[in-house]
């Protein structure tokens, strides 16, 4: 049989996939090897020069540092808090839905709007946080050195101080992401058969920790793989908080100069599309490597029922 019907079945999906998914990446990869800029009269082939810049100049070193620090703070905290919140919400008999809704609110809210709210809340002089902290001055809290320091001089400029900026931005990231992780974990928790807990009880698992180790954690394995992967990708992609809070430059001495923001700054603001494309490709490679690595490491130990 030499019919071509099969091409008609496979064709549309294949064409769409190439056109929509693979082509843009290929174009970005191509552009990353040029000094292309919108409206430039000529475009030159520069080979790996863009990449060389990225891996040698200190501005980009800061970019990698900020991105990795952000990911390193956000992922464990949002996954851990998500799991904790899910276990707590799952264990309450009443009001579970209300808690679920409340924790999920930040996920539904627009991050740009929420970033502005946080910017006010954490404002060094008129912000709710620092004003509350000031109320504690002169009490026993001053025995804590950091606190005394804050009373003597001023409490931190959460977004303006190089020391705190990344932490503050990461805090917003965690605040926003953990509700999403909680919902995923809740779905995982409802999938655990009750008989397993009863078997664990009969087998002598007396403490909550024993039950967690023997049943809950292993049975949440597939959920954890998914949650961790998603969290990694989402925190690598952080952009709107940085853009909303810092109008230019990526924070005090570029301490919050994350990759997505760098791409935006280079490619859109400075019209250095070649560099922007190169960062995009590196970003893609990171996410890809991390995802594969994590699949290999975790999936080996994960049981799918």
């Amino acid at each position: 049989m030499t019919g071509r019907a099969h091409l008609w079945f496979v064709g549309p999906a294949l064409v769409l996939m190439v056109l929509i998914l693979l082509m843009p990446i290929a174009v970005a990869a191509g552009l990353s090897l040029t000094d292309y800029g919108l409206g430039n009269r000529s475009t030159d082939w520069v080979g790996l020069a863009n990449y060389e810049q990225i891996f040698t100049r200190s501005a980009y070193e800061k970019m990698f540092g900020a991105t990795f620090r952000y990911v390193a703070i956000t992922v464990p905290l949002s996954v851990g808090l998500g799991l904790g919140a899910a276990l707590l919400v799952h264990s309450v008999a009443r009001f579970g839905d209300i808690y679920k809704t409340i924790y999920f609110l930040p996920v539904m809210a627009s991050l740009v709007a929420m970033a502005i709210v946080w910017e006010f809340t954490l404002h060094p002089t008129i912000g709710l946080v620092n004003r509350t902290l000031e109320q504690g001055c002169g009490t026993w809290l001053e025995t804590w050195g950091w606190y005394a320091n804050g009373c003597a001089r001023s409490f931190p400029l959460w977004f303006g101080d190089r020391q705190y900026a990344l932490g503050s931005v990461a805090f917003i990231g965690v605040w926003q992401a953990f509700g999403f992780n909680m919902v995923l974990y809740l779905a995982g928790l409802t999938g655990i058969p009750r008989e397993l807990y009863q078997a664990a009880e009969v087998d002598g698992a007396k403490s909550a920790w024993d039950r967690f180790r023997l049943v809950t954690w292993p049975m949440l394995g597939p959920t954890t793989v998914f949650v961790v992967t998603i969290s990694f990708i989402r925190s690598f992609q952080v952009f709107d908080t940085v853009e909303a809070i810092y109008e230019t430059g990526g924070g005090p001495s570029r301490s919050v100069y994350v990759m997505m923001y760098a791409i935006y700054e280079k490619a859109v603001r400075q019209n250095l599309i070649g560099i922007g494309a190169a960062i995009t490709i590196i970003f893609l490679a990171f996410v890809m490597v991390l995802t594969l690595l994590q699949r290999r490491l975790v999936e080996r130990r994960t049981h799918y029922v």
């Binding site: 009863q198 009880e201 002598g204």
Partner: protein
């Protein structure tokens, strides 16, 4: 070795919300006995087992093991083993690890259970556990499976592993919640025989929940028939089958179902069934009654009833004939061996075989009945 111990349930009451599930159940399980809780689904038998296990708390009544009140004791401390309907094996652990879990949780301290450090702290204990697991695996013939995960096992193999996990720590009694219901018919019969052998070998009390009366009849020393949260009858399989206390028990136990026909106790004590004399006398008050006759106590031949064949149920060894008696009644009878199966619609005469019909009052209570002397003559 734990001593063989008896279990006692007294006055167990349980309801879920406003729905009562158990209405005061009293039950004694003798040491080493195989006791079956049998009843249709929703009769409360599983709930009763879980109360015995400590997985649920009764609203009233007491549970005691070997004479000690354990009503307030949690399941983990009762030293009972349970086999679940779904087997409830830990899917991420190998068969050996699954079987070792009860021992690890009981015999090792929390520090000894830690991954690497624990290994060093508890070499000897771990070796003991490993040896015990292998010994049990040998009894159940699952040694080649020890390194596999439950997902790679067949239903029957999982069943054995679940049994193994229950057996490793020598509990005072085994509780089983419909353990064979997920197996195919042939394997079920095979595992039934194995369970009976295992029970003899272990010498521990088995409390076995099933809705399958064949399992109850074949396995039990005594069976407890439950319905609607009440214990209807407790006795040996022979007692329950041959001497049921009520029509409910008589109809539930026995397959095909016992035949029920309208009857009457006449003023002189003689019992009739559809107007025909049965050769039975009853001392009960005269009036209408229900006559119940087992299918194997009927045969073909002149002398009792007659009707048309509705359908012939061929079970291989036996053929059961479903015979319509007029529009309202039907009887099932076991065709005598060697009878050529008649075509549906054929005229069938029904005769009494051996065995006595049972007599029940209108409310289902059993009525005394004795063979009438002149009928025997």
């Amino acid at each position: 070795m734990a001593e063989a111990a008896g279990l006692t349930l007294s006055g167990i009451v349980k309801s879920y919300g406003t729905t009562p599930v158990l209405h005061g159940i009293d039950l004694d399980v003798a040491p080493g006995e195989f006791l079956t809780l049998v009843g249709p689904s929703g009769c409360g038998k599983s709930t009763l087992l879980r109360i015995l296990a400590g997985l649920e708390a009764p609203d009233g009544g007491a549970v005691s093991i070997a004479g000690r009140d354990v009503t307030q004791m949690r399941a983990a401390d009762r030293n009972l083993a349970m086999v679940f309907q779904s087997y409830a094996l830990y899917p991420h652990l190998t068969v050996a690890q699954n079987m070792a879990t009860p021992l690890r949780l009981r015999d090792l301290t929390r520090w000894q259970r830690l991954p690497l450090v624990g290994n060093l702290l508890s070499r000897q204990a771990r070796r003991r556990i490993g040896a015990r697991v292998r010994a049990v695996a040998e009894i159940l013939q699952i040694e080649p499976l020890l390194d596999r995960k439950p997902g790679q096992l067949s239903g029957g193999q999982r069943q054995r592993v679940a049994l193994g996990r229950a057996m490793v720590r020598d509990p005072v009694a085994f509780l089983m919640d419909e353990p064979l219901s997920n197996l195919d018919a042939a394997l079920r019969v095979h595992m039934r025989a194995e369970l009976a052998a295992l029970h003899r070998r272990l010498g521990r009390a088995f409390v076995y929940v099933t809705h399958d009366q064949a399992e109850a009849l074949t396995l039990s020393d005594r069976m407890a028939v439950m319905r609607g949260g009440r214990l209807l009858q407790l006795g040996t399989p022979a007692q329950v089958y041959g001497d049921p206390v009520s029509l409910e028990v008589a109809s539930f136990i026995g397959s095909p179902r016992i035949n029920t026909l309208p009857g009457e106790i006449r003023r002189d004590g003689a019992v009739t069934c559809m107007g025909l004399p049965l050769g039975l006398r009853s001392g009960a008050a005269p009036g209408p009654a229900t006559v119940a006759i087992r299918p194997e106590h009927l045969t073909t031949g002149e002398g009792f009833l007659s009707g048309t064949l509705n359908y012939a149920e061929n079970l291989g060894a036996d053929i059961y004939l479903h015979v319509h008696l007029g529009a309202e009644h039907e009887v099932v009878l076991r065709a005598p061996a060697g009878l050529a199966t008649p075509a549906p619609g054929a005229r069938i005469s029904v005769a009494r075989g051996g065995g006595l019909p049972l007599l029940f009052a209108a409310d289902g209570a059993r009525l005394p009945a004795t063979p009438a002397v002149e009928a025997v003559a």
